[in-house]
Symmetry: C2
Subunit: 317 residues, 2 copies
């Protein structure tokens, strides 16, 4: 274990921050879109041991990740069923195995932002500390072989600037979209050790729309030419953008504000310079979607192993 890993594996009691004085005077807190609440659920007992949170758009993918991670970290019987903790609502799905929480977030900035507000409050109410959070997702690549995994360096907007614009009381506030660079490097290193698929670190463009917002030619509306599209994607590439998705900017901004150590790991399903349609075979696209799960699953396993080793060494001192 290198010094950086040692540091990460060492508890340093960093809490999950909320920044809202109004929460202190609320009698209880209903996390409406999770179907949970402080009056109805013992959040510290349910979630106090959480150290890793993995989030992704699809409910199915987060369930499959939970089954995968359970087998990897040998926390529980991999054949057992993991109940959806948010079974009272269909907005999001949530699963937990040991210290690993998996939560779906739907598609787009507003959908993941609702989830993150309630997740950050949940971790706060549960008194969680030293939490690492990773978004595992899908994306369109720019000039990369489909199936390449991109770990995000900076999340950029549609004008290639590293910022997220939050509207508060009708006024626009700019927020920083920095992600944890050490975590990104550790994930890249983990992928090298795995040696199963190509992984790169690069900038990620986050858009509010999948079709016109990403210069696709195959939406219901399109007012630009193939050349306009290529010119736009080339400019994005010149700004260091390797892939395009729809959640990373608000994810980065909110995790930074709340003190969560955060990374974005997305596989590219196609090369946008060569096309717009997702017409790869179902099997190939499915196998690509497993890659961020495999990478992050292995990273978590490695960290838990290092931590167990450290505890063991301490016990024998």
């Amino acid at each position: 274990m290198n010094p950086e890993e040692e540091k990460r594996a060492t508890p340093c009691s960093s809490p999950v921050f909320v920044h809202n004085p109004h929460l202190d005077v609320m009698k209880d807190d209903v996390l409406y879109h999770f179907g949970l609440g402080t009056a109805t659920h013992n959040l510290p007992a349910m979630f106090g041991d959480v150290k890793f949170v993995c989030v992704g758009g699809s409910q199915w993918r987060m369930k499959s990740f939970t089954e995968y991670i359970a087998a990897e970290i040998r926390m529980e019987d991999p054949e057992s069923e993991y109940p959806n903790i948010c079974a009272g609502t269909d907005r999001y799905a949530m699963y937990k195995v040991g210290p690993v929480l998996s939560v779906s977030h739907g598609m787009g900035i507003p959908s993941i932002a609702i989830m993150l507000h309630e997740l950050i409050k949940l971790l706060h109410h549960a008194h969680c500390e030293d939490v690492t959070i990773v978004r595992i997702g899908t994306s369109g690549g720019i000039g990369l072989e489909p199936g390449t995994v991109v770990v995000t360096k900076k999340s950029m907007d549609a004008t290639f600037l590293p910022k997220f614009e939050q509207v508060i009381l009708g006024k626009t506030v700019e927020r920083n979209t920095d992600l944890d660079q050490c975590l990104a490097e550790e994930l890249l290193q983990c992928s090298k050790e795995l040696n199963q698929f190509e992984t790169v670190i690069g900038n990620t463009m986050c858009t509010l729309d999948f079709y016109e917002g990403q210069a696709r030619l195959d939406g219901a509306f399109c007012s630009y030419t193939e050349k306009d599209k290529q010119d736009y994607l080339k400019k994005a590439s010149e700004a260091g953008i390797c892939n395009i998705e729809m959640e990373s900017s608000v994810f980065a901004a909110m995790c930074k504000l709340s003190g969560l150590r955060a990374a974005v790991v997305c596989v590219t399903l196609l090369d946008r310079l060569k096309g717009d349609q997702m017409n790869g075979s179902h099997e190939v696209l499915q196998s690509y979607q497993l890659r961020p799960q495999i990478l992050v699953g292995n990273y978590i396993k490695k960290l838990l192993k290092a931590k167990a080793g450290r505890s063991c060494n301490s016990a024998t001192v």
Copy 2:
């Protein structure tokens, strides 16, 4: 049947427009987030008879709407199971009973925009004509008794302007958010005839965020006071805004561009002047959520009855 209803019930062969010359030269079209496509599915056979589309955030709600409408219009056995047409994906759910299609859209502008791009292309590929589309949703009310149903007059942004900003190739384009005023009036009239709950026509604010974007005091972050919140909501009220939700602006803009006759019908789950938390009992909130379904279900039943009467009269001439 009044002249306006007569006009609505009379086919006038208005197609669903796409505005994209690139679609004409595509060999086939994969509607990726529906798990459907022109090469794999006979879209005219599956959807050619669609005259009404109801959309809503929750997959559960759209399934329940389908069961409700099936019983109402007596198209099929209300006890039978309706298969999810998008069963190959978990992004959206889609159900069909006779001429009525129900589709879920998730939460927020990006999520509904992806669905609408693919829905508009689906209706286009299926050669559908004279389609009416209604979003049935939930919202926060301003100064209204919880449970009030709001039929949207204009959809406004967070600065109280009736526009939607679409980013295309990094540049912002403003789009009109007009909805069909005749349809809104017909829905209001239908609610009066039903006489089961209060319905009003008013403006709807559409935001990109549920917490800070709607001046809530109970998010993970909040940098403003109760007075700031009240001042903002009062200004919204002065602009004729009756309720706040997260999808109406792009819904209005895209439906207008594609020639779909569109309305937004949302129930208010709480009065935002009095609070932020959704802490009504599960049963009460559930009963409120049924109201847009009941209203739109009855409207569809009325129109189909009028159309059947007209066909019947024609046949006897």
